[in-house]
Amino acid sequence: MTPRRVVAAALAALSWVSVAAAQAPTPSPDPANQLDAGIRQAAGRIQTERATKGQSSGLLLGEVQLLILGLTVPTEDRLLARAEEGRTDKQLGADGSTSLVTKGGIPRVLALAVENGALDQTQSGTTVTLRGSPMGLVHALANRGYLAMYVEGDPALNVLQRFSFGVSFDTSRGLAAGESPTLTARARQLSSITGRLTLLDHREPRRAQYDDRWNNFAAVQQGMTSAAVSFAAAARDDQALAAWLQRANIAIAAAPPERVEAVIRTQLAGLPSIAVSGATLAAVATARARYDELLEARATVLAEVDRGAQLVFDYTNDRPLDGNDTSNVRLVGSIGGMVNLTGNVSATFYNSKPSGVTKPARDISAALQLDLPLGRPESVGRFVLSVSAKFESLLSDVPGPAGFLLSGTKGSIGVGQVKLTIPIKDSAAKVPLSFTVASRSELVKERIVRANVGVTYDLDAVFARFKP
Protein backbone atom coordinates (compact mmCIF):
# COMPACT_ATOMS: atom_id res chain seq x y z
CA MET A 1 0.00 0.00 0.00
CA THR A 2 1.43 3.38 -0.96
CA PRO A 3 1.88 6.13 1.66
CA ARG A 4 -0.77 8.14 -0.15
CA ARG A 5 -3.33 5.39 0.26
CA VAL A 6 -2.31 4.97 3.89
CA VAL A 7 -3.06 8.64 4.55
CA ALA A 8 -6.27 8.41 2.55
CA ALA A 9 -7.32 5.44 4.67
CA ALA A 10 -6.52 7.36 7.86
CA LEU A 11 -8.41 10.43 6.73
CA ALA A 12 -11.30 8.27 5.65
CA ALA A 13 -11.36 6.83 9.16
CA LEU A 14 -11.68 10.35 10.53
CA SER A 15 -14.60 10.95 8.22
CA TRP A 16 -16.56 8.72 10.59
CA VAL A 17 -16.28 11.46 13.17
CA SER A 18 -17.34 14.24 10.82
CA VAL A 19 -20.32 12.27 9.62
CA ALA A 20 -21.32 11.41 13.15
CA ALA A 21 -23.54 14.49 13.12
CA ALA A 22 -27.02 13.04 12.92
CA GLN A 23 -28.45 15.95 10.97
CA ALA A 24 -26.84 18.84 9.12
CA PRO A 25 -28.44 22.26 9.57
CA THR A 26 -30.74 23.35 6.74
CA PRO A 27 -29.44 26.26 4.63
CA SER A 28 -31.52 29.43 5.04
CA PRO A 29 -33.74 30.32 2.10
CA ASP A 30 -33.32 33.68 0.43
CA PRO A 31 -35.79 35.84 -1.49
CA ALA A 32 -34.45 34.70 -4.87
CA ASN A 33 -34.93 30.99 -4.25
CA GLN A 34 -38.28 31.69 -2.61
CA LEU A 35 -39.36 33.56 -5.76
CA ASP A 36 -38.27 30.51 -7.74
CA ALA A 37 -40.25 28.24 -5.42
CA GLY A 38 -43.28 30.50 -5.74
CA ILE A 39 -43.08 30.30 -9.54
CA ARG A 40 -43.04 26.51 -9.39
CA GLN A 41 -45.90 26.53 -6.90
CA ALA A 42 -47.99 28.75 -9.19
CA ALA A 43 -47.15 26.65 -12.23
CA GLY A 44 -48.17 23.50 -10.37
CA ARG A 45 -51.47 25.06 -9.37
CA ILE A 46 -52.21 26.22 -12.92
CA GLN A 47 -51.36 22.84 -14.41
CA THR A 48 -53.55 21.08 -11.85
CA GLU A 49 -56.47 23.43 -12.53
CA ARG A 50 -56.16 22.80 -16.25
CA ALA A 51 -56.08 19.06 -15.70
CA THR A 52 -59.06 18.97 -13.32
CA LYS A 53 -61.25 21.85 -14.49
CA GLY A 54 -60.17 22.28 -18.08
CA GLN A 55 -59.10 25.86 -17.47
CA SER A 56 -57.16 28.02 -15.04
CA SER A 57 -57.45 31.58 -13.78
CA GLY A 58 -53.68 31.94 -14.20
CA LEU A 59 -51.63 34.18 -11.94
CA LEU A 60 -53.70 35.87 -9.27
CA LEU A 61 -53.44 39.39 -7.90
CA GLY A 62 -53.94 37.84 -4.48
CA GLU A 63 -50.72 35.84 -4.78
CA VAL A 64 -49.05 38.87 -3.27
CA GLN A 65 -45.78 37.27 -2.19
CA LEU A 66 -45.08 36.20 -5.75
CA LEU A 67 -45.71 39.75 -6.98
CA ILE A 68 -43.75 41.38 -4.16
CA LEU A 69 -40.70 39.22 -4.85
CA GLY A 70 -41.22 39.53 -8.59
CA LEU A 71 -41.05 43.30 -8.29
CA THR A 72 -38.03 43.41 -5.98
CA VAL A 73 -35.67 40.46 -6.60
CA PRO A 74 -32.84 41.46 -8.97
CA THR A 75 -32.53 39.53 -12.22
CA GLU A 76 -29.01 38.25 -11.50
CA ASP A 77 -30.16 36.73 -8.20
CA ARG A 78 -32.98 34.93 -10.02
CA LEU A 79 -30.53 33.41 -12.52
CA LEU A 80 -28.28 32.18 -9.72
CA ALA A 81 -31.17 30.64 -7.79
CA ARG A 82 -32.51 29.04 -10.95
CA ALA A 83 -29.10 27.56 -11.84
CA GLU A 84 -28.70 26.01 -8.40
CA GLU A 85 -32.27 24.74 -8.33
CA GLY A 86 -31.91 23.23 -11.78
CA ARG A 87 -28.89 21.25 -10.59
CA THR A 88 -30.76 19.95 -7.56
CA ASP A 89 -33.80 19.03 -9.66
CA LYS A 90 -31.62 16.97 -11.96
CA GLN A 91 -30.07 15.04 -9.11
CA LEU A 92 -33.34 14.39 -7.37
CA GLY A 93 -35.33 13.61 -10.47
CA ALA A 94 -37.90 16.24 -9.60
CA ASP A 95 -38.78 16.57 -13.27
CA GLY A 96 -40.44 13.18 -13.02
CA SER A 97 -37.61 11.03 -14.27
CA THR A 98 -34.57 9.52 -12.66
CA SER A 99 -31.26 10.82 -13.85
CA LEU A 100 -30.09 7.34 -14.85
CA VAL A 101 -31.45 4.93 -17.40
CA THR A 102 -33.78 2.55 -15.66
CA LYS A 103 -35.24 -0.71 -16.80
CA GLY A 104 -37.49 -3.25 -15.25
CA GLY A 105 -40.56 -3.05 -13.08
CA ILE A 106 -38.85 -2.49 -9.76
CA PRO A 107 -37.00 0.68 -10.84
CA ARG A 108 -40.26 2.12 -12.18
CA VAL A 109 -41.94 1.53 -8.83
CA LEU A 110 -39.04 3.27 -7.15
CA ALA A 111 -39.26 6.14 -9.63
CA LEU A 112 -42.98 6.46 -8.93
CA ALA A 113 -42.23 6.55 -5.23
CA VAL A 114 -39.71 9.34 -5.77
CA GLU A 115 -42.13 11.25 -7.98
CA ASN A 116 -44.81 11.06 -5.32
CA GLY A 117 -42.53 12.07 -2.48
CA ALA A 118 -42.55 8.70 -0.74
CA LEU A 119 -38.80 8.38 -1.25
CA ASP A 120 -35.95 10.83 -1.64
CA GLN A 121 -33.32 10.04 -4.23
CA THR A 122 -29.71 11.20 -4.28
CA GLN A 123 -26.83 10.17 -6.46
CA SER A 124 -23.11 10.08 -5.84
CA GLY A 125 -21.06 8.85 -8.75
CA THR A 126 -22.72 5.64 -9.91
CA THR A 127 -24.41 5.01 -6.56
CA VAL A 128 -28.08 5.86 -6.26
CA THR A 129 -29.45 6.12 -2.75
CA LEU A 130 -33.13 6.07 -1.92
CA ARG A 131 -34.22 7.21 1.53
CA GLY A 132 -37.62 7.15 3.06
CA SER A 133 -39.63 6.58 6.15
CA PRO A 134 -42.93 4.97 7.04
CA MET A 135 -44.23 8.47 7.75
CA GLY A 136 -43.17 9.62 4.31
CA LEU A 137 -45.11 6.77 2.75
CA VAL A 138 -48.17 7.82 4.76
CA HIS A 139 -47.80 11.40 3.54
CA ALA A 140 -47.45 10.27 -0.06
CA LEU A 141 -50.47 7.98 0.10
CA ALA A 142 -52.53 10.70 1.76
CA ASN A 143 -51.55 13.25 -0.86
CA ARG A 144 -52.57 10.86 -3.61
CA GLY A 145 -55.91 10.25 -1.96
CA TYR A 146 -55.21 6.66 -1.07
CA LEU A 147 -55.66 7.35 2.61
CA ALA A 148 -59.11 8.62 3.48
CA MET A 149 -58.21 9.73 6.95
CA TYR A 150 -54.89 11.06 8.11
CA VAL A 151 -54.60 13.10 11.22
CA GLU A 152 -51.50 15.17 11.73
CA GLY A 153 -50.13 14.61 15.20
CA ASP A 154 -51.66 11.17 15.65
CA PRO A 155 -49.64 9.42 18.39
CA ALA A 156 -49.28 6.23 16.34
CA LEU A 157 -47.97 8.20 13.40
CA ASN A 158 -45.60 10.07 15.67
CA VAL A 159 -43.99 6.73 16.54
CA LEU A 160 -43.60 5.96 12.84
CA GLN A 161 -41.78 9.26 12.43
CA ARG A 162 -38.89 7.91 14.45
CA PHE A 163 -38.02 5.31 11.81
CA SER A 164 -36.32 5.82 8.49
CA PHE A 165 -34.50 3.64 5.99
CA GLY A 166 -32.17 3.87 3.04
CA VAL A 167 -31.12 1.65 0.18
CA SER A 168 -28.11 2.21 -2.06
CA PHE A 169 -27.63 0.72 -5.50
CA ASP A 170 -24.27 0.70 -7.25
CA THR A 171 -25.39 1.00 -10.85
CA SER A 172 -21.93 0.15 -12.20
CA ARG A 173 -22.34 -3.46 -11.13
CA GLY A 174 -23.40 -6.12 -13.57
CA LEU A 175 -22.79 -4.04 -16.67
CA ALA A 176 -22.07 -5.53 -20.04
CA ALA A 177 -19.09 -4.19 -21.95
CA GLY A 178 -19.72 -0.60 -23.05
CA GLU A 179 -23.01 -0.36 -21.18
CA SER A 180 -23.84 2.85 -19.32
CA PRO A 181 -24.73 2.72 -15.61
CA THR A 182 -28.28 1.46 -15.40
CA LEU A 183 -30.49 1.14 -12.36
CA THR A 184 -31.97 -2.34 -12.35
CA ALA A 185 -32.46 -2.44 -8.57
CA ARG A 186 -31.56 -6.11 -8.55
CA ALA A 187 -29.76 -7.79 -5.66
CA ARG A 188 -26.42 -7.58 -7.44
CA GLN A 189 -26.58 -3.77 -7.46
CA LEU A 190 -27.59 -3.53 -3.82
CA SER A 191 -24.56 -2.04 -2.06
CA SER A 192 -26.01 -1.12 1.33
CA ILE A 193 -29.17 -1.10 3.39
CA THR A 194 -29.60 1.25 6.32
CA GLY A 195 -32.13 1.64 9.04
CA ARG A 196 -32.39 4.45 11.57
CA LEU A 197 -34.27 4.84 14.79
CA THR A 198 -34.36 8.32 16.29
CA LEU A 199 -34.30 7.89 20.05
CA LEU A 200 -34.15 11.53 20.96
CA ASP A 201 -34.77 14.46 18.67
CA HIS A 202 -34.78 17.95 20.06
CA ARG A 203 -34.20 19.20 16.53
CA GLU A 204 -37.86 18.76 15.65
CA PRO A 205 -39.13 22.35 15.09
CA ARG A 206 -42.66 21.44 16.15
CA ARG A 207 -41.66 20.42 19.66
CA ALA A 208 -43.49 22.24 22.44
CA GLN A 209 -40.17 23.44 23.85
CA TYR A 210 -39.93 25.85 20.90
CA ASP A 211 -43.47 27.24 21.16
CA ASP A 212 -42.28 30.44 22.81
CA ARG A 213 -39.81 31.07 19.99
CA TRP A 214 -42.50 30.53 17.37
CA ASN A 215 -44.89 32.81 19.26
CA ASN A 216 -42.27 35.56 19.19
CA PHE A 217 -41.75 34.84 15.52
CA ALA A 218 -45.48 35.27 14.91
CA ALA A 219 -45.21 38.90 16.01
CA VAL A 220 -42.63 39.49 13.27
CA GLN A 221 -44.73 37.60 10.73
CA GLN A 222 -47.78 39.71 11.53
CA GLY A 223 -45.90 42.68 10.10
CA MET A 224 -45.61 40.84 6.80
CA THR A 225 -49.28 39.91 6.74
CA SER A 226 -50.44 43.47 7.29
CA ALA A 227 -47.92 44.89 4.81
CA ALA A 228 -49.16 42.35 2.25
CA VAL A 229 -52.74 43.57 2.71
CA SER A 230 -51.59 47.16 2.15
CA PHE A 231 -49.77 46.07 -0.99
CA ALA A 232 -52.85 44.24 -2.23
CA ALA A 233 -54.94 47.38 -1.76
CA ALA A 234 -52.45 49.47 -3.74
CA ALA A 235 -52.00 46.80 -6.42
CA ARG A 236 -55.72 46.53 -7.00
CA ASP A 237 -55.81 50.17 -8.12
CA ASP A 238 -52.59 49.97 -10.17
CA GLN A 239 -53.46 50.03 -13.86
CA ALA A 240 -49.94 49.20 -15.03
CA LEU A 241 -49.88 46.13 -12.81
CA ALA A 242 -53.36 45.12 -13.98
CA ALA A 243 -52.28 45.41 -17.60
CA TRP A 244 -49.15 43.35 -16.95
CA LEU A 245 -51.21 40.66 -15.22
CA GLN A 246 -53.60 40.50 -18.13
CA ARG A 247 -50.77 40.13 -20.65
CA ALA A 248 -49.06 37.52 -18.51
CA ASN A 249 -52.20 35.43 -18.18
CA ILE A 250 -52.82 35.54 -21.93
CA ALA A 251 -49.32 34.18 -22.47
CA ILE A 252 -49.78 31.54 -19.78
CA ALA A 253 -53.13 30.42 -21.18
CA ALA A 254 -51.55 29.94 -24.60
CA ALA A 255 -48.64 27.91 -23.25
CA PRO A 256 -48.66 24.09 -23.40
CA PRO A 257 -48.51 22.43 -19.97
CA GLU A 258 -44.78 21.74 -20.06
CA ARG A 259 -44.06 25.39 -20.86
CA VAL A 260 -46.24 27.04 -18.21
CA GLU A 261 -43.44 27.43 -15.67
CA ALA A 262 -41.07 28.91 -18.24
CA VAL A 263 -43.72 31.38 -19.42
CA ILE A 264 -44.45 32.48 -15.85
CA ARG A 265 -40.75 32.99 -15.31
CA THR A 266 -40.44 35.06 -18.48
CA GLN A 267 -43.43 37.21 -17.64
CA LEU A 268 -42.23 37.84 -14.09
CA ALA A 269 -38.83 38.85 -15.44
CA GLY A 270 -40.56 41.83 -17.06
CA LEU A 271 -42.34 42.87 -13.89
CA PRO A 272 -39.63 45.13 -12.38
CA SER A 273 -39.61 47.28 -15.52
CA ILE A 274 -43.30 48.21 -15.58
CA ALA A 275 -44.26 51.70 -14.40
CA VAL A 276 -46.22 50.92 -11.27
CA SER A 277 -47.72 53.75 -9.24
CA GLY A 278 -45.97 55.51 -6.40
CA ALA A 279 -48.40 53.97 -3.93
CA THR A 280 -47.58 50.50 -5.22
CA LEU A 281 -43.86 51.18 -5.05
CA ALA A 282 -44.10 52.35 -1.45
CA ALA A 283 -46.27 49.42 -0.43
CA VAL A 284 -44.02 46.85 -2.11
CA ALA A 285 -40.92 48.32 -0.47
CA THR A 286 -42.54 48.01 2.95
CA ALA A 287 -43.77 44.51 2.26
CA ARG A 288 -40.38 43.39 1.03
CA ALA A 289 -38.72 44.75 4.16
CA ARG A 290 -41.20 42.86 6.34
CA TYR A 291 -40.57 39.72 4.28
CA ASP A 292 -36.83 39.95 4.78
CA GLU A 293 -37.42 40.32 8.53
CA LEU A 294 -39.64 37.23 8.42
CA LEU A 295 -36.96 35.10 6.75
CA GLU A 296 -34.32 36.29 9.20
CA ALA A 297 -36.52 35.65 12.23
CA ARG A 298 -37.38 32.18 10.95
CA ALA A 299 -33.70 31.39 10.42
CA THR A 300 -32.96 32.47 13.98
CA VAL A 301 -35.55 30.08 15.39
CA LEU A 302 -34.36 27.18 13.24
CA ALA A 303 -30.72 27.84 14.14
CA GLU A 304 -31.66 27.35 17.77
CA VAL A 305 -33.61 24.20 16.87
CA ASP A 306 -30.55 22.84 15.06
CA ARG A 307 -28.58 23.09 18.29
CA GLY A 308 -30.95 20.71 20.04
CA ALA A 309 -29.83 17.33 21.29
CA GLN A 310 -30.22 14.31 19.06
CA LEU A 311 -29.61 10.61 19.63
CA VAL A 312 -30.03 8.11 16.83
CA PHE A 313 -29.38 4.41 16.35
CA ASP A 314 -28.19 3.34 12.91
CA TYR A 315 -27.92 -0.07 11.35
CA THR A 316 -26.05 -0.49 8.08
CA ASN A 317 -25.72 -3.67 6.05
CA ASP A 318 -22.78 -3.03 3.77
CA ARG A 319 -22.36 -5.21 0.65
CA PRO A 320 -19.12 -4.24 -1.09
CA LEU A 321 -18.37 -5.62 -4.53
CA ASP A 322 -15.02 -6.95 -3.30
CA GLY A 323 -14.76 -8.07 0.27
CA ASN A 324 -17.01 -9.33 2.99
CA ASP A 325 -20.54 -8.20 3.72
CA THR A 326 -20.71 -6.53 7.12
CA SER A 327 -23.32 -5.18 9.49
CA ASN A 328 -22.59 -2.04 11.45
CA VAL A 329 -24.54 -0.77 14.44
CA ARG A 330 -23.90 2.76 15.60
CA LEU A 331 -25.21 5.07 18.27
CA VAL A 332 -24.77 8.75 17.39
CA GLY A 333 -25.39 11.64 19.72
CA SER A 334 -25.03 15.34 19.11
CA ILE A 335 -25.81 18.55 20.89
CA GLY A 336 -25.22 22.16 20.04
CA GLY A 337 -24.97 25.47 21.76
CA MET A 338 -21.90 27.67 22.00
CA VAL A 339 -20.05 24.60 20.67
CA ASN A 340 -21.34 21.59 18.78
CA LEU A 341 -20.45 18.20 20.21
CA THR A 342 -20.94 14.99 18.26
CA GLY A 343 -19.99 11.48 19.27
CA ASN A 344 -20.61 7.95 18.23
CA VAL A 345 -19.87 4.40 19.27
CA SER A 346 -20.16 1.57 16.82
CA ALA A 347 -19.48 -2.09 16.21
CA THR A 348 -19.08 -3.93 12.92
CA PHE A 349 -19.84 -7.60 12.44
CA TYR A 350 -19.16 -9.96 9.54
CA ASN A 351 -22.36 -11.28 8.01
CA SER A 352 -20.43 -14.46 7.37
CA LYS A 353 -16.99 -14.89 8.89
CA PRO A 354 -14.09 -14.92 6.43
CA SER A 355 -11.89 -17.95 6.39
CA GLY A 356 -9.49 -17.83 9.35
CA VAL A 357 -11.53 -15.35 11.37
CA THR A 358 -12.91 -16.78 14.60
CA LYS A 359 -14.79 -13.76 15.99
CA PRO A 360 -18.01 -12.51 14.40
CA ALA A 361 -17.19 -8.93 15.41
CA ARG A 362 -14.80 -7.12 13.08
CA ASP A 363 -14.20 -3.95 15.05
CA ILE A 364 -15.50 -1.54 17.66
CA SER A 365 -14.93 2.17 17.64
CA ALA A 366 -15.71 5.40 19.40
CA ALA A 367 -15.35 8.92 18.03
CA LEU A 368 -15.86 12.45 19.31
CA GLN A 369 -15.84 15.80 17.50
CA LEU A 370 -16.11 19.29 18.87
CA ASP A 371 -16.90 22.22 16.53
CA LEU A 372 -16.39 25.74 17.77
CA PRO A 373 -17.77 28.54 15.53
CA LEU A 374 -15.59 31.62 15.63
CA GLY A 375 -15.84 35.06 14.13
CA ARG A 376 -18.83 37.08 13.04
CA PRO A 377 -20.59 36.09 9.80
CA GLU A 378 -21.37 39.70 8.94
CA SER A 379 -17.74 40.86 9.20
CA VAL A 380 -14.81 38.45 8.79
CA GLY A 381 -17.06 35.42 8.23
CA ARG A 382 -17.70 32.28 10.25
CA PHE A 383 -14.57 30.32 11.08
CA VAL A 384 -14.97 26.82 12.50
CA LEU A 385 -12.37 25.18 14.74
CA SER A 386 -12.88 21.43 14.90
CA VAL A 387 -11.13 18.99 17.20
CA SER A 388 -11.82 15.32 16.75
CA ALA A 389 -10.57 11.96 17.91
CA LYS A 390 -11.37 8.37 17.07
CA PHE A 391 -10.39 5.10 18.68
CA GLU A 392 -10.90 1.85 16.78
CA SER A 393 -10.10 -1.69 17.84
CA LEU A 394 -9.74 -4.35 15.14
CA LEU A 395 -10.71 -7.54 16.95
CA SER A 396 -8.95 -9.85 14.53
CA ASP A 397 -6.74 -9.67 11.46
CA VAL A 398 -8.68 -8.11 8.59
CA PRO A 399 -9.04 -9.61 5.11
CA GLY A 400 -7.26 -7.86 2.28
CA PRO A 401 -8.77 -7.13 -1.14
CA ALA A 402 -7.82 -10.62 -2.37
CA GLY A 403 -9.66 -12.24 0.54
CA PHE A 404 -6.58 -13.44 2.44
CA LEU A 405 -6.13 -12.38 6.05
CA LEU A 406 -3.46 -9.71 6.50
CA SER A 407 -1.40 -11.00 9.41
CA GLY A 408 -0.66 -8.52 12.22
CA THR A 409 -3.45 -6.08 11.43
CA LYS A 410 -5.35 -6.93 14.60
CA GLY A 411 -5.00 -4.15 17.14
CA SER A 412 -5.97 -0.61 18.04
CA ILE A 413 -5.99 2.58 15.98
CA GLY A 414 -6.04 6.09 17.37
CA VAL A 415 -6.63 9.15 15.19
CA GLY A 416 -6.67 12.79 16.20
CA GLN A 417 -7.28 15.87 14.08
CA VAL A 418 -7.43 19.62 14.52
CA LYS A 419 -8.98 21.57 11.68
CA LEU A 420 -9.63 25.24 11.08
CA THR A 421 -12.06 26.11 8.29
CA ILE A 422 -11.54 29.65 7.04
CA PRO A 423 -14.35 31.22 5.00
CA ILE A 424 -13.63 33.70 2.24
CA LYS A 425 -16.27 36.35 2.78
CA ASP A 426 -18.70 37.09 -0.06
CA SER A 427 -17.47 34.11 -2.01
CA ALA A 428 -18.26 30.42 -2.17
CA ALA A 429 -14.72 29.49 -1.10
CA LYS A 430 -13.53 27.98 2.15
CA VAL A 431 -10.01 27.06 3.15
CA PRO A 432 -9.66 24.11 5.53
CA LEU A 433 -6.37 23.75 7.38
CA SER A 434 -5.94 20.46 9.21
CA PHE A 435 -3.35 18.58 11.18
CA THR A 436 -3.86 14.83 11.60
CA VAL A 437 -2.04 12.25 13.66
CA ALA A 438 -2.89 8.55 13.37
CA SER A 439 -1.16 5.69 15.15
CA ARG A 440 -1.65 3.49 12.03
CA SER A 441 -4.20 2.61 9.40
CA GLU A 442 -6.29 -0.56 9.24
CA LEU A 443 -3.92 -2.26 6.82
CA VAL A 444 -0.51 -0.72 7.57
CA LYS A 445 1.06 -0.39 11.03
CA GLU A 446 2.84 2.91 10.49
CA ARG A 447 2.38 6.16 12.35
CA ILE A 448 0.91 8.93 10.23
CA VAL A 449 1.44 12.65 10.74
CA ARG A 450 -0.05 14.92 8.12
CA ALA A 451 -0.87 18.57 7.57
CA ASN A 452 -3.32 19.52 4.86
CA VAL A 453 -4.29 22.80 3.23
CA GLY A 454 -7.17 22.81 0.82
CA VAL A 455 -9.64 24.99 -0.95
CA THR A 456 -13.28 24.14 -1.37
CA TYR A 457 -15.23 26.13 -3.88
CA ASP A 458 -18.83 25.94 -5.02
CA LEU A 459 -18.11 26.06 -8.77
CA ASP A 460 -21.81 25.90 -9.64
CA ALA A 461 -22.41 29.25 -7.98
CA VAL A 462 -19.44 30.77 -9.82
CA PHE A 463 -20.40 29.47 -13.25
CA ALA A 464 -24.02 30.48 -12.76
CA ARG A 465 -23.03 34.12 -12.34
CA PHE A 466 -21.24 34.07 -15.69
CA LYS A 467 -24.11 32.45 -17.54
CA PRO A 468 -25.25 34.68 -20.38
Partner: protein, 119 residues
Protein backbone atom coordinates in the same frame (compact mmCIF):
# COMPACT_ATOMS: atom_id res chain seq x y z
CA UNK B 1 -70.24 35.06 -0.34
CA UNK B 2 -69.57 34.54 -4.05
CA UNK B 3 -66.40 33.59 -5.84
CA UNK B 4 -65.86 35.78 -8.88
CA UNK B 5 -64.23 34.98 -12.20
CA UNK B 6 -63.50 31.44 -11.01
CA UNK B 7 -60.77 33.01 -8.86
CA UNK B 8 -60.88 31.91 -5.23
CA UNK B 9 -58.94 35.02 -4.17
CA UNK B 10 -61.52 37.35 -5.76
CA UNK B 11 -64.70 37.37 -3.70
CA UNK B 12 -67.79 39.42 -3.11
CA UNK B 13 -70.01 39.44 -0.08
CA UNK B 14 -72.71 41.66 1.41
CA UNK B 15 -72.08 43.97 4.31
CA UNK B 16 -72.58 42.20 7.62
CA UNK B 17 -72.11 38.66 6.32
CA UNK B 18 -70.16 36.48 8.73
CA UNK B 19 -67.13 34.84 7.18
CA UNK B 20 -64.60 32.50 8.78
CA UNK B 21 -60.98 32.20 7.75
CA UNK B 22 -59.45 28.86 8.66
CA UNK B 23 -56.50 26.65 7.80
CA UNK B 24 -57.55 23.08 8.66
CA UNK B 25 -54.79 21.19 10.42
CA UNK B 26 -52.23 23.84 9.62
CA UNK B 27 -51.69 25.31 13.05
CA UNK B 28 -49.65 22.32 14.21
CA UNK B 29 -47.26 22.53 11.29
CA UNK B 30 -46.99 26.24 10.63
CA UNK B 31 -47.18 29.68 12.14
CA UNK B 32 -50.27 31.32 10.65
CA UNK B 33 -51.15 34.98 11.01
CA UNK B 34 -54.11 36.84 9.61
CA UNK B 35 -55.23 40.39 8.88
CA UNK B 36 -58.97 40.80 8.38
CA UNK B 37 -61.50 43.60 8.80
CA UNK B 38 -62.18 42.00 12.19
CA UNK B 39 -58.61 42.34 13.38
CA UNK B 40 -55.23 40.70 13.25
CA UNK B 41 -53.65 37.82 15.10
CA UNK B 42 -52.37 34.26 15.06
CA UNK B 43 -54.75 31.72 13.59
CA UNK B 44 -55.60 28.71 15.68
CA UNK B 45 -57.32 25.47 14.69
CA UNK B 46 -60.76 27.02 15.27
CA UNK B 47 -60.18 29.82 12.78
CA UNK B 48 -61.20 33.47 12.93
CA UNK B 49 -64.66 34.82 12.24
CA UNK B 50 -65.32 38.35 11.08
CA UNK B 51 -68.14 40.38 9.63
CA UNK B 52 -67.90 42.06 6.23
CA UNK B 53 -67.68 45.74 7.12
CA UNK B 54 -69.70 48.55 5.64
CA UNK B 55 -68.19 49.95 2.44
CA UNK B 56 -65.87 52.80 3.28
CA UNK B 57 -64.13 55.02 0.77
CA UNK B 58 -63.94 51.94 -1.43
CA UNK B 59 -66.37 49.05 -1.42
CA UNK B 60 -63.72 46.43 -0.87
CA UNK B 61 -61.98 44.79 2.03
CA UNK B 62 -59.06 42.40 2.23
CA UNK B 63 -58.14 39.25 4.14
CA UNK B 64 -54.45 38.43 4.35
CA UNK B 65 -53.05 35.12 5.60
CA UNK B 66 -49.39 34.21 6.03
CA UNK B 67 -48.26 30.62 6.60
CA UNK B 68 -44.66 29.96 7.61
CA UNK B 69 -43.84 26.26 7.86
CA UNK B 70 -41.99 24.91 10.89
CA UNK B 71 -41.27 21.76 8.91
CA UNK B 72 -42.72 20.29 5.73
CA UNK B 73 -46.44 20.57 5.17
CA UNK B 74 -49.37 22.16 3.41
CA UNK B 75 -51.43 25.26 4.15
CA UNK B 76 -54.96 25.06 2.84
CA UNK B 77 -56.27 28.58 3.44
CA UNK B 78 -60.07 28.81 3.36
CA UNK B 79 -62.71 31.47 3.75
CA UNK B 80 -66.17 30.10 4.35
CA UNK B 81 -69.57 31.66 4.76
CA UNK B 82 -72.35 30.28 6.87
CA UNK B 83 -74.11 28.83 3.83
CA UNK B 84 -71.21 26.48 3.25
CA UNK B 85 -69.58 28.28 0.32
CA UNK B 86 -65.80 28.00 0.54
CA UNK B 87 -63.02 29.84 -1.22
CA UNK B 88 -59.64 28.21 -0.82
CA UNK B 89 -56.05 28.59 -1.85
CA UNK B 90 -53.45 25.91 -1.12
CA UNK B 91 -49.68 25.92 -1.09
CA UNK B 92 -47.06 23.65 0.37
CA UNK B 93 -43.38 23.06 0.95
CA UNK B 94 -43.32 20.61 -1.96
CA UNK B 95 -41.90 23.28 -4.26
CA UNK B 96 -39.48 24.70 -1.70
CA UNK B 97 -41.63 27.45 -0.22
CA UNK B 98 -40.93 28.05 3.46
CA UNK B 99 -43.53 30.81 3.81
CA UNK B 100 -46.27 32.31 1.71
CA UNK B 101 -48.80 35.11 1.98
CA UNK B 102 -52.05 35.35 0.07
CA UNK B 103 -54.67 38.09 0.16
CA UNK B 104 -58.34 37.58 -0.59
CA UNK B 105 -60.11 40.68 -1.87
CA UNK B 106 -63.81 40.94 -0.99
CA UNK B 107 -65.96 43.35 -2.94
CA UNK B 108 -68.71 44.59 -0.63
CA UNK B 109 -72.06 44.32 -2.37
CA UNK B 110 -75.59 45.19 -1.31
CA UNK B 111 -77.21 42.62 0.96
CA UNK B 112 -79.18 39.75 -0.66
CA UNK B 113 -78.50 37.51 -3.65
CA UNK B 114 -77.22 33.94 -3.79
CA UNK B 115 -73.71 32.94 -2.88
CA UNK B 116 -71.52 30.47 -4.67
CA UNK B 117 -69.29 30.67 -7.64
CA UNK B 118 -69.55 33.11 -10.52
CA UNK B 119 -67.80 31.84 -13.61
Amino acid sequence: MRIRNNNDLDLEAPQGELLTVIVPGGASNAVITFDTPGGTGTLTASGHQFAVPPPGAKPVCFVGVTCTFKASGTCDVRIADQAGNVAQHTFSTAFGLVSNTVVFSIDIVPAGGAGGRQI
